[in-house]
Amino acid sequence: MTRSFRARNEVAIVGYAHSKIERRSDRTLGAITVDTTRAAIADAGLSVDQIDGFVGSALFPTAGDHLIIDGVSTVSPNWLARSLGVNPRYAAGFSGMGQIPGSVALAVNAIAGGAADHVVLHRALHNPKGRYHGSSRASFGGEQQWTAPQGYFGPLAMIALPTTEYLERYGATREGLAAIAVEARKNGSRIPWSFWHDRPLAAETYLDAEPMFDPICQYDCDIPVDGVATFVFTSAERARDLPHRPVHVSGYATGAPTRSRMPLHWPLDDIMDGGRETARRLWAAVGVGSDEVDLPQLYDGFSPFIWFWLESLGFCEPGEAHRFIADGGIDSDRPDGLPVLSGGGALGNGRMHGIPQMLESYLQLAGRAGDRQRDANVALACHASPHLGGAVVYTNDPG
């Protein structure tokens, strides 16, 4: 039994800031995060001393041997609060999958429950020197004892298995994956802060690339970057007195592990069964269905996630997403297209971990998308896999 979300539309995003997305910044991640967060608080018409809540996820999503150093390779909510000189009433990190929807849930619940009045949500992503997922380990204990010795290691192997299943079951092809990457990069090329600004991808370039873990090639993967985004949340009541049009959180849902598997083993049926449950919870929480969403921003850290989310959320029947896309179904330049990658996604911006989906939802619903402005009232922002990640529904028309 899933109930509707009691705090529906009671909390809103009231400001944001986003750093440049660079392959490697010459500045420390913590310094970029403090600058970006100060800019976001000012954008919301607030001052730093009014911020009494900090949330986010400090996950550094690498399989490699890189050091995890708070303020350098990752930034936790507590580190950010201390560096801004704030002793917040509420600080919390989300440690599950779907880090952005999970962090939004922390912000919304803290404000709706009265634990904080003005909450900052940030995400800081770092690209370390050396090979992002490279490891030189001579042995593996723990859960990886079951997989790494065989050479099953890292997220490309993880996504390759369900993608092969999808191709074989439904007759999809690498051309179908290319169409997703090309759409993301087309939209990303129009975004000034994107790593891929002015650099769209040709389908021929994609198809000429040799896969790394068949059928996954480099263009199916978002590129590791240095980049930071911060959003400011407050109550709908307080939001009325602030400068920008509030964008309300209608509700959210996250997935949950269903059964024990080898590490990084995501069979297609696990993804889709879990994804349909995530979607069922989401629609019950927010009280709308997929046909009422103007702007579904689907997660694309790997391109096949677009198929999995389109089908999990009910925008396509199982096995039909690749045909829907081939027919122009997600072309955001077509009036009848479903603009699932209009914000460029992760493939079109860089590895910003669900931020591009949240940012596009915010900018479009706040009327702040500039040349890219669309007519939209209800947006949906996904992150990670449908079975373990999550999604948030936003509206600028809370009724």
């Binding site: 030189s136 042995s139 010795p149 065989q150 050479g151 890292g154 092969t164 083993h265 297609l268």
Partner: protein, 138 residues
């Protein structure tokens, strides 16, 4: 010349790797509900028992291919001479919904399809350590 990484057993998993070294595949049986699993979990995923004995029991390694990938670039040491190679996701006939990921030893040109039957084979990493792997059933 880097060697491939080896598995490090713990107190629970040592019997599995000892049997594997002798080319015997075992699965973890829960003493409370008798379910077979791999990997073994601190709490039984079938009956919820927290107070149980786990015994590793020999099983036949036959199964069917549920998915695969061709690894052309490894992120780990020791695979440079092995790439490209195939990893297969195999559902064992011996236990419902138990799936192993192992090397497919018939090469990258062997015809693969979902549902093809495979038999267990072994990869020897050194004199003591062997990993479950698979070949197409003849």
């Amino acid at each position: 010349m880097n060697a491939r990484p080896i598995p490090v057993p713990n107190d629970t998993t040592a019997p599995f790797w000892a049997a594997a070294g002798d080319h015997v595949l075992t699965l973890a049986r829960c003493s409370n509900c008798s379910a077979l699993t791999l990997p073994p979990e601190p709490v039984c995923g079938h009956c919820g028992s927290t107070d149980r004995e786990i015994t590793f029991e020999p099983v036949d390694g036959a199964g069917v291919i549920r998915s695969w990938t061709v690894v052309r670039q490894s992120f780990l040491p020791g695979f440079d001479d092995d790439v490209p190679f195939v990893l297969v996701d195999v559902e064992l006939d011996a236990a419902e919904d138990v799936r192993l990921i192992g090397r497919f030893l018939d090469g990258i040109d062997a015809p693969l399809a979902l549902g093809l039957a495979v038999d267990l084979a072994w990869e020897d990493l050194n004199d003591d350590v062997a990993l479950p792997a698979f070949r197409l059933r003849p």
